[in-house]
Point group: C2
Amino acid sequence: MNKTEPRTLSGFMELLPNEQILFNQMKEKIENTYKKFGFLPLDTPVIELSEVLLAKAGGETEKQIYRFNKGETDLSLRFDLTVPLSKYVAKNYGNLSFPFRRYQIGKVYRGERTQKGRFREFYQCDIDVIGDGELDLINDAELPSVIYTIFKELGFDDFTIRINNRKILNGLFESLEQKEKSVEILRIIDKIEKIGKEAVIEELTKIGVSNNSINKIISFIEIKGSSDEKIEQLENLQIENETFIIGVSELKEVIKNIRLFGVPEENFKVDLTIARGLDYYTGTVYETFLNEYRELGSVCSGGRYENLAEYYTNKKLPGVGVSIGLTRLFYKLNELNIIKAEQKSVSEIMIIPMIENLEEPIKLATELRKLGINTEIYLNNKKLKAKFKYADKLKIPYVIVIGEDEINSNTIKLKDMETGEEKILPLNANEVIKGTRPLIK
Amino acid sequence: MNKTEPRTLSGFMELLPNEQILFNQMKEKIENTYKKFGFLPLDTPVIELSEVLLAKAGGETEKQIYRFNKGETDLSLRFDLTVPLSKYVAKNYGNLSFPFRRYQIGKVYRGERTQKGRFREFYQCDIDVIGDGELDLINDAELPSVIYTIFKELGFDDFTIRINNRKILNGLFESLEQKEKSVEILRIIDKIEKIGKEAVIEELTKIGVSNNSINKIISFIEIKGSSDEKIEQLENLQIENETFIIGVSELKEVIKNIRLFGVPEENFKVDLTIARGLDYYTGTVYETFLNEYRELGSVCSGGRYENLAEYYTNKKLPGVGVSIGLTRLFYKLNELNIIKAEQKSVSEIMIIPMIENLEEPIKLATELRKLGINTEIYLNNKKLKAKFKYADKLKIPYVIVIGEDEINSNTIKLKDMETGEEKILPLNANEVIKGTRPLIK
């Protein structure tokens, strides 16, 4: 028979079991934290009507969409979890309680040019809080505490949630009479970390911003100091623009409350250069950086928006949300050896029966599972050495051997695969667990 | 602005939060059981190269595929989790330990004609055990114990795992010299539950099976009695066909071992009419029925196959596996009111702060979360009544009120939302949990 080469598409992550175990552990930590804060689960379809999914989209996004016809129907794969959320909230408005706090963890699709570390199918892990008509600013301060909890859970200490408010930037541009160029200016200053100050000045000149305005913009984004010092300097700028003034006051309030939510001083700061996208966010914006690995870019981003679902409904639905791009985060952490996929099995104990009658080994396995221990039985007829090799290759922490001698004396032989230590224990699940306790959570 | 109607495609399940909570609980129970038995996680892409995904497929399946081009590339959405597994094992053969025990829970896509209770996007929850060259028959007896554990976990008692062996049917047809018609005959007798005996006889006559052979086939599938009695009758048939003899002996061995694996007598039985698909399975086959809801059809099916990945590799990879179609199962159970989506929130406690300074409410929430309690804080500035209404609508079991009085006396007011009972407790997470213990797991 002709064989087809078993390929996986480039840009699509497919992990080996040990990597998958680690990936799933990270995903679970994120999900459990979202649940701890009372966010409700959601799971929308991967495929939507193009008309619905692309009600708003345009430009870059549209080019990347996986779009196709099935019969007469024009379909698209979701490219984020925000548009499906908008549709969902508009569609189910009458059945939801507001503020609607939801999380969704799922795969999204973008047909980007493939390159190392870029994925066309990737997990987003989103939370959003949606208000009905209004949503208090205090919610903008709670989300950083969720981000903080997650990255601590994932084992990081040195990370910073960078916070800004889009109204400050918008107000500044208004005051400089550059409002109509604000989208372009934002796009340029967003790149300052990447391309540097000189290149930013050059690009701003190119689009016709006056030297005077450029100076003001640069001195603005160069405001230095602690979060409180930055806010003080903003207040001292005496910019008589209402949007600007509201933005500064919102940022001040959010920073004050983030402290209240228990995020330590070293894990957040005001960063006036963060703009996040071009037309979506309208207030608070967040980016999160692992400080020792700045090359990863922001690992968790989001912000406040005025109106979630304006393309579907007249209801005003303001919200605030953040998203973790888990696939890329995992890929990068793994590549940089920051995380290590050492666990190769989910089994904590493997039972090797060396007798014909499997009754006792199966009974023991069932009891162990009931007590919460993942247990597999080696069921194939191989030599003892081959069975141990399997356990060794999968790094299963403990192996239990049950042979004639053990059955006759109502015992089992427990081997700690890491230390090589062997123990004879009573044939009883509780006794076995006592014998392994230190390693098994 | 023109509004787009926020529609979801028909045939695509999108649940309300309370339904989603229940769906996820079922999914978690399945996943946890798979892990308890030591199955490794896998998560393959939803999109594959059509050439790879359709290396084998044809007929009905191919028509239902979501297939499209992106640029020059011919892509398809997976229609099951078995073909991706075949590809994966062939591709990663050198990096896997055999027997390779894996689970995968994920969405698959089939563009079937939409009708009530039929889904185009649905979850499959699969486990398979793959051997390298060979795989002992004992594995066929372990899987029913996994199925048994899952349906018990899901709260069912009255279900039956029906077991057959394809070699018995194949051998029978060989002995009747109807081998070349076996696929057609199987398809017809597979329908006996649906269309009845007379219609089966009629269809068999139509395809040219002799009366004599029809009689033998019918008397065969009408063999009655307990599992052991059926096997005895099969042995007594004296059919001198090797395939048949092997099939009966395999079935006998599997039934013996299922008992050993602790599946109670009332939860499994030999059913000689079960064929499962037409050319894939080669030995043991399973179907699982909820006896009070036979109209659901089989809720967990699978079987033994000779060669998982013959389209991709020369390696012989026999395996055995089962699959639960969770989306349809959930839909039907929900429709029949067998399961009730009563939980409307993941939060176990909601804290209502009635003070300006949120420091103490936030501290308490953080402590409660650390102790494992999902806790949300009502953050928006509403009247107390509106806040309670929110907790009530979401059926959050406990509400804590912290106002001036409470802060001054270092206490909280805990309200049991089901009984209406109120308690004053110390402002301390451990004390609060003690006060709620009976309801919160």
